[in-house]
């Protein structure tokens, strides 16, 4: 705590592309802002659910989905600012211990969408340590691509709730915008899982 620890050296687009490589039936929830663009840049998919608002909610959407779909792996891809707004969710998730849920926090230590102001993570708050303290079974701070590859192999294991902070560069790659029609994305996602619209 207290030291400046703003982001890291990894390329967020390369990180997300690597995590989603060979994804099969992985279900993906994205936090608003850059993580949504990163997941879209890796390729739109029926099993993607992109948030454009409700900052702080990505991890909880992941928890509800993981609880309803225990036979699927669920990956939440979000940023440090989005996770910080819903940090209490880490306590709630830890009490539920969803074995099939992984949260990947793309931590650039900044609020990238609003002008790159330094975030709490950039000032030394370690979200992986928060998750560990809450009781997550597996937590890591990842600073190299070998760590990202290791995380990817763990997504399918469904052997305990996981959170990794992945230290990425504080930069905004060109935006790749996912669909903004939330009803469409929701119905597409549900249809891919065999659930009819009302």
């Amino acid at each position: 705590m207290g030291e400046v620890n703003a982001g890291g050296a990894l390329d967020r687009r390369e990180v997300v592309k690597t995590l989603l490589d060979g994804r099969k039936d992985l279900l993906v929830v994205t936090g608003l802002g850059s993580p949504s663009y990163d997941v879209m840049a890796a390729g739109d998919h029926d099993n993607n659910y992109y948030l454009w608002a409700a900052m702080g909610s990505a991890a909880m959407v992941g928890l509800g989905l993981a609880t309803a779909k225990p036979d699927h792996s669920v990956l939440v891809v979000t940023g440090d600012g989005e996770m910080l707004m819903g940090m209490g969710a880490l306590a709630t998730i830890a009490t539920r211990r969803p074995a099939n849920l992984t949260i990947a926090v793309l931590d650039n230590g900044h609020f990238g969408e609003t002008g790159m102001q330094v975030s709490h993570a950039g000032m030394g708050v370690n979200l992986d340590k928060v998750a560990q303290s809450c009781g997550f079974g597996w937590t890591r701070e990842i600073r190299d691509m070998a760590g990202v590859e290791d995380l990817r192999t763990r997504l399918a294991s469904r052997d305990g709730v996981k959170l990794a902070t992945i230290k990425v560069k504080a930069e905004n790659p060109p935006r790749v915008l996912p669909p903004r029609d939330g009803v469409h994305v929701k119905n597409r996602f549900r249809a891919a899982l065999g659930h009819a619209s009302i």
């Binding site: 279900l27 929830v29 659910y49 948030l51 454009w52 608002a53 409700a54 900052m55 702080g56 909610s57 990505a58 991890a59 909880m60 959407v61 992941g62 928890l63 509800g64 989905l65 993981a66 609880t67 309803a68 779909k69 819903g86 209490g88 969710a89 306590a91 709630t92 009490t95 539920r96 939330g182 009803v183 994305v185 929701k186 996602f189 549900r190 899982l193 065999g194 659930h195 009302i198």
Partner: protein
Amino acid sequence: MSDAGEGPSEQAGWRRDVFDILKAADVKHIVYVPDAGHSTAIRLATEDNTINSVVLTTEEEGIGYLAGAWLGGERGALLMQSSGVGNCINTLALQTCTRFPLLMVVTMRGDWAEFNGWQNPMGQATERALNLMGVLTWRADEPQDVAPLLRGAASMAFNGDSACALLLGQRLIGEKQWVK
């Protein structure tokens, strides 16, 4: 199921009705920030192994959770006190923009015979705040109204992909005893 700790009013009546209606509506997830008025429903949910009962650190977590559960094909409900409605306002956009059944049961404070005036600002704004965000609302102040109003709210939430809230008035719940 044990009756230990249950008063006569818990074995029947509106407190029990809340749980029974949610169960009959095929709710698989009851997510909540505790309130005394919800204690029977919370206890019954916790004892029911077909229902995921999830305690939240703040009420808006429940909106994200229920959006996710619905993506996975399952129904839920959010139980909270009126003060928690204030915490939910921005997150209600998730329901408006994606349309999913969001059923909420809200126990009122700052509504009638309130001892703690700090509850009044949010309590007095609760229903209008929900309406401003597009939530359909009903109020129950009599025990016999709880079951039909909650059944109706559940029906409109799950058949209409709507956000629906039943407010349980402070006259229904009873005055909180501050000095015993």
